[in-house]
Symmetry: C2
Subunit: 339 residues, 2 copies
């Protein structure tokens, strides 16, 4: 098993990404190919005393796509950008899966352009795993495509369901449509048109509309929405989480000695809780609907998130999530059932 | 000052609503008219020993609109429903403002049908005050209208800005468009079309796109979005907040004695924090764009939230937020400036 990792264009720099990759190699025993500026990569490997690790190879790419660049234009102009080159390796089957951590837009564009879509999938979707009270919920699309047609949301539902089943081990995952009320008659034009299509769709266990408050509740396994809504939901959660931590710290600081002592005593428990709710434990988001396993990490990912992303890339490959999506979409389209 | 309160159709029943209203009368000295089943109301007043309070009157309404009923149909069929009757009192100027706490959809429909829109406002919007790290942020629309045109979002921006200025005392409030990236070129069809209109709009301090993570950060005062997105955002925050509390409790329960002691010592500080983040402190949401002050409380509001809603209704009336919106929209439409 060989995983390509684009190490360029991230907030914390290539060294942080490489650190996470090396931890994954050490722990999971996979081979990796690091894609990016060979001098920077070599330097980082030397610093970690891993320049002779037979499981780690370097594939040079002379260009980088920065966060602010226009995805579609930059991937066409910068043909030697690390994400473009890494995608070519995946397309040429020189590796089994890809982990990217730079610009999400550029990664999606590179995947569409360099790998192509699975037959029958009109638009790929980014699936993100969100911690819930009882375990985890898959939210998709979290930003691959902002304006989505009802048929594309059904395709997302199928892909998300397969992912939840194969990767998270959830049997017959409950699929919900993110909406503003539970009743079938509630919603905007898009959700009203999507509901009956989801109801008819084979291969998914559609439980109806769900609301924002259900995402973390553990009562739904796959939450389907367009990429605009999904992106806003994820970033709202991120912002609220940070605000709560900030307000918690300020409250303790402005409280008396007893509260401060209390906080100290609770520290190990709070750390455990933080870990449970830490998105980086789940190893990035998946671009579902393209022809090979493609993981997209947050631009601000640290080593731990990258290590987990490599693990997820391996699991996706082993479980052949891409092949399963291809098969199911084919059956769904042909009107046949494989059950 | 006289405030009408629809006391029917809520989760906790009329007695809980009436309790909050009586606290407001006691604390703020306003007059109130309680609208709903007169027997139920009288009974509740007797229980609170307030049946002879000269500031409290009863206006009988024989019907109730339940949460599950279709808003548009029910307000036309049930002409003696408490929310319909209360809106009539407001329209006839028998009171200055209205506080509702039943079905949000029915309240919006009753307001549109019974009060009408301010001239120039195509669609009213529900404005909700959300706690932030530094104070509070106004989010609108949080559910009055799910499919919105760009021009309607500009009207929401103007109304939200006036509300933040007059009610929350924020000078020259920063207005942001909720989007999936900061750049002007990011977004879905709706936000891309809205951005240039907001940039041109007079009377608002438009600071550009904001993301979900900015809502609680204190870097924007008014966040503008369509009613679908706003509703999903609010309920996502609600759900995440509850999940964090749940996970926190479970973590403490499964931890050792020291952590439990720590939690005990921190309890007063945590209570203070809970209060700071408690939405009910802000007294419900406002339906902006209709011809009189109209407050919409969550169906699960308790006495404290109702008390605060009555206070907000009084402030809205005193500061003539409705009159100010009418004037500004008129100027904005005529292309003139009042500055």
């Amino acid at each position: 098993m060989k995983i390509a990792v684009d190490v360029m264009g991230t907030d914390y720099g290539p060294a942080e990404i490489i650190k996470g990759v090396l931890e994954a190699v050490d722990e999971y025993g996979c081979e990796v190919v690091l894609v990016g500026d060979q001098n920077i990569i070599r330097e980082a490997l030397v610093r970690e005393h891993q320049e002779n690790n037979p499981k780690v190879s370097i594939h040079h790419a002379s260009q980088v796509i920065e966060m602010k660049e226009h995805p579609g234009i930059s991937i066409r102009k910068k043909r030697d950008a690390s994400i473009v080159v890494a995608t070519q390796l995946l397309h040429a089957k020189e590796c089994d899966a890809l982990v990217s951590s730079g610009s999400t837009g550029a990664a999606v564009a590179a995947a569409l352009f360099g790998l192509g879509r699975i037959k029958g999938i009109e638009r790929p979707a980014i699936a993100t795993v969100i911690p819930s009270i009882t375990g985890a919920t898959v939210l998709l699309d979290s930003g691959a495509k902002v304006d989505t047609k009802p048929e594309q949301l059904v395709q997302s539902a199928i892909m998300g369901s397969i992912y939840a089943e194969l990767q998270l081990g959830i049997d017959n995952p409950r699929v919900g449509l993110l909406n503003i009320g539970e009743e079938e008659t509630k919603g905007n034009e898009q959700t009203l048109a999507t509901y009956p299509l989801l109801k008819q769709a084979k291969h998914i266990n559609f439980i109806g509309n769900v609301e924002g408050r259900d995402i973390n509740k553990g009562t739904v396994d796959v939450v389907v929405c367009d990429g605009f809504t999904g992106n806003v939901v994820l970033k709202t959660m991120e912002g609220l989480g940070l605000a709560i931590v900030d307000i918690f710290k300020a409250t303790i600081l402005s409280s008396g000695l007893l509260a401060k002592l209390g906080a100290l005593l609770m520290k190990p428990a709070l750390e455990k809780m933080k870990q449970k709710m830490d998105a980086s434990e789940y190893g990035g988001a998946l671009l579902l609907g393209v022809r090979a396993p493609f993981i997209i990490c947050h631009g601000s990912s640290k080593a731990k998130a990258i290590k987990n992303a490599v693990r997820v890339a391996m699991e996706l490959t082993e479980k052949d999530v891409v092949g399963r999506i291809r098969d199911v979409i084919l059956y769904e389209e042909s009107g046949e059932s494989d059950e």
